[in-house]
């Protein structure tokens, strides 16, 4: 399970990406599913102009959409009156997306990408995140909520 290891060993990479330089866009939306479309609409052109292909951009957008859906479902347990704060940073090396909530902290033990052979609804979101991004790191060291850091490097 290479994916899991990446998450556990994410610390070293995380320091690398702490200050990724480059250009930053921040976007804060209410925790209502109708704003997922706003997040996708804003993120698509950023990832494209960062130099990712249309297909890679679609996948980046998908994984971020899944992460935000999880915040609404799990961290806020369906409360639509909270906020989700995204920080998107682009530099020559790739794209970093930070997703911050103030809800229930992620239980890292639950973020086990399920085996795909297990055909049932649900459990796919985290699988997409781990497949698409090079770094997937959940930080629950703050007072409340979780900061999820997703990093995708550009192919050289």
């Amino acid at each position: 399970m290479n994916d899991r290891r990446q998450m556990r060993e994410g610390r070293r990479e995380a320091t690398e990406v702490k200050d990724p330089g480059g250009e930053t866009v921040t976007l804060t939306v209410p925790s209502h599913p109708k704003y997922l479309y706003v997040v996708r609409s804003a993120l698509y052109p950023i990832a494209r102009s960062a130099g990712f292909s249309k297909q890679d951009t679609r996948k980046i957008v998908l994984a971020v959409d899944e992460a935000c859906s999880n915040v609404i479902k799990h961290a806020y347990e369906g409360d639509h009156a909270k906020t989700i704060a995204l920080t998107v940073t682009v530099n020559g090396g790739g794209i970093q997306i930070r997703i911050k909530d103030s809800g229930k902290k992620v239980d890292a033990a639950k973020i086990a990408p399920r085996r795909l052979e297990d055909i049932r609804p649900g459990g796919l979101g985290t699988h997409f995140m781990f497949t698409i991004f090079d770094t997937v790191e959940f930080d629950t060291s703050g007072e409340r909520g979780t900061i999820l850091t997703l990093v995708k490097k550009k192919k050289q």
Binding site: P33, K34, Y37, R40, R58, L62, I72, K73, F128
Partner: protein
């Protein structure tokens, strides 16, 4: 930001055409459209076709909705056939490695064979 759903009752069964984005916000609408079909019931030997050519976006909640529909079809002894997947749908199916789980066809013509 919305999904439009057209349900047609045709000779070979039911045809659902989805147009738009299927995400956590809109998948309940898709689920309701499926539920309406199952409530009417699908006759033996007929199938439920879903045209995905105009789906500009689909996430795991859309996949979950399709998996549920497939399971409901199995219970009713009919089949779910997915037709003409758009590139974003193909992406998410590939990521979920679901291509082998569903019956997928390029065209409606092909989807009608071997029922």
């Amino acid at each position: 930001m919305r999904v439009e759903i057209v349900t047609e009752k045709t000779d070979p069964g039911f045809l659902l055409k989805l147009d738009g984005e299927v995400d956590m916000n809109t998948s309940p609408d898709v689920r309701n459209a499926f539920a309406a079909v199952f409530k009417q019931g699908i006759e033996k030997g007929k199938a439920l076709f879903v045209d995905l050519s105009h789906v500009r976006y689909m996430d795991s909640s859309g996949i979950a909705t399709l998996v549920e529909a497939m399971q409901a079809c199995m219970k009713q002894g009919t089949r779910l056939r997915l037709v003409d997947l758009s590139p974003p749908v193909r992406d998410v199916f590939e990521l979920a490695r679901l291509a082998s789980v569903f019956e997928i066809f390029s065209t409606m013509r092909e989807a009608l064979t071997g029922l």
